[in-house]
Homo-oligomer: 182 residues x 2
């Protein structure tokens, strides 16, 4: 994992501030700046504050910087019998383009955003959901998905079943998620 | 259930607005103004917007008007084997005084708020948790709890396991919860 710069961290904090969501100093000091070991965080990354993650439910507050993409992944059923993670994204500020597996394959010519250069093979889900503040969408377990912020970035609440991020399956084989969830 | 006045509804909407949480027109039109059939909503009541409630998790945005109290209740285990509801309250705006069952009984002389006049018998949980914006607390299943807003009211996010409000057990036998959850 390459070094996350202070400037990058300040940009993330600035977006939380713009959303008017009140966060404690402790929360701001413990933001998870996830680069998925791709060393390309300004393009592919995700920033999040974990509010709660127990064996019943999970809630996070996520930030994407302008045009930043969270790489495609899915939440599988677990070997211990637990069903894969189900999650609801609610846009709080800015806008986000969410892509989930649909009937048709991803068509990079017709979706509203551009794919990360050179990573086209690692994005396959093509059903577009455009979320503006106050809008939300629920992603079923085991459905591949990825999402990209609009030009101003986005603040997104996630309500979900418990997070076991260590079991997430990413389409890009180069991804290694460093886990901070538990 | 007595009529909820337009003025009351506007006060609730005003608090959501003050919190800067973006809500859709549809959500604002479908606020659940719960008076628990006590016909005393300005003192005992709860106002909420249900974001999502499925068989995995639930999320709500709640409002209490100034000094309004949500009556004491608990979430029992269900007969079908489901564990009682666990919930995390996160204060977003204003302040709320939360009371949960603790080692000592409720002492109305030492807690920070006053009990609803004439309803003293229906409030028994006495462990006080004072939540300001950005602060949160998780209530275990089957633990009696009630909560009262401070002088400016409160906006509180609830993250939880699924809501089955029809099975909630209230301490006040006069309470009948009209269910809007599913």
């Amino acid at each position: 994992m390459s070094e996350i710069t202070k400037e990058y961290k300040n940009q993330v904090k600035e977006l939380y501030k713009k959303s008017k969501i009140v966060l404690t100093d402790e929360e701001l000091a413990s933001i998870d700046y996830a680069d998925f070991s791709l060393s390309n965080i300004e393009e592919e990354g995700l920033n999040l504050i974990l509010y709660v993650n127990n064996n019943r439910y999970c809630a996070k507050e996520m930030v994407l910087l302008p045009n930043q993409t969270c790489p495609e992944h899915m939440h599988p059923d677990l070997e211990n019998g637990l069903e894969g993670k189900q999650e609801t994204f609610r846009c709080r500020w800015g806008e986000v383009f969410l892509y989930v597996e649909g009937d048709a394959p991803l068509d990079s010519d017709t979706i509203s955003v551009s794919l990360v250069n050179g990573k086209e093979d690692y994005y396959t889900a093509g059903k577009e959901i455009h979320l503006k503040p106050g809008e939300q969408y629920t992603i079923a377990p085991k459905i591949k998905h990825w999402f990209k912020a609009g030009k101003d970035g986005a603040v997104i609440s996630e309500f979900s079943s418990p997070s076991y991020d260590e079991f997430d399956v990413f389409t890009d084989p180069n991804i290694k998620r460093v886990i901070r969830d538990r």
